[in-house]
Amino acid sequence: MMLALSALGGVLGLDATSFGQFMISRPLVAATLAGGLLGEPVLGLQIGMFLEFFHLDGMPSGGSRVPEAGPAAVVAVALAATVSGPAGLAFGVMAGLLVSEVGGLTVGVQRHVNMALISRVEAGRVSPVRLTGVHLLAMFLDFTRGGIITAVGVSVGTRGIGIAYDGWTLSSESTVAMIVVAASIHLGALLKEFGGWRSQSAVFLIGLVAGIAGVYL
């Protein structure tokens, strides 16, 4: 199973930047895929939904370093699946957020490696075959990086899961409420990205009333 999860992490690492950007690396998708692999698609969707709130806003423009959500979502679901109830949810989301930050750092390292690879091409004869080979090598390294992040994340996280299970005392309701409160900061930031309260308040309020009505109807 570890091999399958690592391969999935590798593919998700590729999708984020190097190849495609079809957004299978979004937490919503990545966690559901991981849940499917582990036979827990509903848990995967739940973890993916909560993690997605934390990645909704923000733009990966230029060379800015952003957290890498795909492999982290796989780690989150793999860990949450080993502990039932709110402890699993809390530990999974925490691991997902932490691993995404580490993943973002390794993306920076990968870009330095790419720089060295391309410099070597430029130093010699630049042929289509050589350039294509180095380009594909960089993508293979990115795939490997995503796989390693996933494998290390799951391995290290599994060792700490007992502590989480013994130490978590909040109810399921309170655990979810705590996560949603933290996520609400991202929802506010997204409203600002969409134009902000001043220009979008009417549309936002219509939606808000509809959303609240949807809960109680």
Binding site: V176, E193, V215
Partner: protein, 244 residues
């Protein structure tokens, strides 16, 4: 219609960021994606090497709109325009391709389609439904934009900048953002109504949630990164206290 070497370049454009790096940015991927066009230009091996070397220079663009530059440069190379003219064209267009793509895709289309997927998930649909709806909606726009941008670049050549300006794509982005705002409102109402107000001590959770929303809106992109790490700290602390 994209045919022959153009199809190959279109497919390669999906990997344009494969060797993204801090020196040439997207430059190496641009050269990699341009290869199918250059192979059709009947160049000697020395000419091909010189051309590829020129395109390894720093270049950046939104990945979905890189086709605009790829197509236009392919046309310019086909017409044997001076390297300096091509370099200046790339320098002139890179900024607008980046900011336009960021605003249209990262700032509007992606969050809007994600909000749609999240709403479907919240409503209790089976896992594969919300994921499939998001992927189909998002990638319909994504792949169409990639195809359109390469087609536009090939059709317009060096005049593509003027054509892009006339299309007013930022207006399209604005309309998508309005749709996204409506979905964001619905999702916020649903989350607050169900997960916060529905929990024990609901009013307390709700008040803190509204304060958090306001904080995120006030500080924009600066606040959220901290909130994820704060949550990690709070969960760790609670686990540690529970183990005492």
């Amino acid at each position: 219609m994209i045919l022959g070497g153009q199809l190959s370049a279109f497919l390669r454009s999906f990997a344009v960021q494969g060797s993204w790096n801090y020196r040439s940015l997207l430059g190496s991927g641009f050269a990699f994606s341009l290869i199918p066009f250059l192979r059709r230009h009947d160049l000697s091996s020395d000419e091909l090497e010189a051309t590829l070397r020129r395109h390894l220079e720093p270049f950046n663009s939104h990945p979905y709109l890189v086709g605009v530059a790829l197509g236009a440069v392919a046309r310019m190379e086909e017409r044997r325009e001076a390297p300096e003219v091509i370099r200046k064209f790339k320098e002139a267009i890179r900024g607008s391709l980046g900011s336009l793509g960021d605003s249209l895709v990262w700032g509007a289309w992606r969050p809007t389609t994600l909000l749609l997927g999240l709403l479907i998930a919240w409503a209790g649909a089976p896992p594969w439904i919300s994921v499939t709806v998001f992927l189909i909606a998002y990638n319909a726009g994504h792949v169409a934009l990639r195809y359109w941008s390469l087609h536009l670049g090939l059709a317009e050549g060096r005049e593509v900048g003027r054509s892009l300006g006339e299309m007013n794509l930022s207006h399209v982005a604005g309309r998508i953002r309005s749709g996204g705002t409506l979905l964001l409102g619905i999702l916020s109402g649903a989350l607050f109504g169900s997960y916060l107000m529905g929990a024990s001590a609901g009013w307390l959770w709700g008040t803190v949630g509204i304060a958090g929303f306001g904080l995120g809106h006030r500080f924009g992109a600066r606040a959220p990164r901290l909130s994820g790490l704060t949550l990690v700290g709070v969960i760790t602390l609670l686990m540690a206290l529970g183990n005492l």
